[in-house]
Symmetry: C2
Subunit: 169 residues, 2 copies
DNA sequence: ACAAGGAGGTTTGAATTTGAACAACACGTA
DNA sequence: TACGTGTTGTTCAAATTCAAACCTCCTTGT
């Protein structure tokens, strides 16, 4: 193996900063979310993703692809949400084996109630700490990092994955 | 409460990019580290922190402060490391109740063997994906973010809690 | 139509992680 | 010196997370 290319000072600073910011922000938000709405962060993300579709329904597979957790964990989380009545399972009409996670009215309510606090926490922990330029750079750079590490989908063909398709309305 | 200041498009992009990059990088490194050296990421960090001191010894409290995990988890992780002979527990000479985690020769060996692969993975997942400018911005911005979130406990001395920090342009 | 192969979710068993309760000790004060 | 308070690290029960095994069903080739 060739000699290891160790990190120079600024690379080290970036890496450690990334690590610490990552951990602290994650923990901070998780606590805030749990106190505010009794939801874990994955659960909140599931609700957000469901509310992002016109029907409030998403297939488990698509949900697992968007989130970073494993399939089994998704099953667990949806189970927890269903236990609280925030989500309901339905069979996919086109695929019998497919399962749709559907947001209930109560779930939409809980999400609506939790969102302001969450956004405020995100601002306080990350967004409002950054300058405008930094926000842009973060979005572009980290977007690239995340996309590059996305599980290799079959049939993608081109190694190009620069699509900036993060559209949320 | 005043109206919620929702995230605009670029803030949203930064936040989602941060979230996804965070999760994927974390997961990627954890897997790489576990396959390469049989260490979890927290364990690796513990070894790194121990090797960073001249004696290879750090008090549990200081260790817990540097890492982001809880005290109980630190006890567990050090226990795992001790079980493999990579770390040894010693009583602190000045404080009877204090415990020093000491890096063994074998632990130093394992760390030395694991470091190159880890650095390579960090490069592949994050550093080498970024431009020079982006690395600098990341280091500065995320360093600030992490530092700002550092004391999740009672403040030392200054009772300041956000009075002057919120800069709105 | 029927068997082989693959995809979609769930279940299982283990490992990790957390918060709270606990025992032992240091420090300060009367 | 004796007492109350805060610290230090561990233990405990419970929740979360993961990878691998599993079952059901779709799709394809013959």
């Amino acid at each position: 193996m060739a000699e290891t290319r160790w990190l120079d000072e600024r690379e080290m600073a970036a890496w450690q900063g990334f690590l610490e910011a990552t951990s602290r922000v994650s923990r901070h938000l998780e606590q805030q979310l749990k106190e505010d709405a009794g939801l874990s962060h994955p659960q909140y993300e599931i609700l957000v993703r469901l509310s992002g579709t016109p029907d409030g329904e998403v297939r488990m597979t698509d949900l697992a692809e968007g989130l970073v957790t494993s399939k089994s964990n998704l099953t667990y989380q949806v189970g927890q949400l269903e236990k609280r009545g925030l989500v309901r399972r339905r069979s996919c009409p086109t695929d019998v084996r497919g399962v749709l996670a559907a947001l209930t009215d109560e779930g939409r309510d809980v999400l609506r109630a939790a969102a302001p606090g969450h956004v405020a926490a995100v601002r306080e922990a990350l967004i409002d700490v950054l300058e405008r330029d930094e926000i842009d750079v973060l979005a572009r750079a980290l977007g690239r990092v995340g996309a590059r590490l996305r599980p290799p989908r079959q049939g993608t063909g081109s190694a190009d994955s620069g699509g900036s398709g993060t559209s949320s309305s």
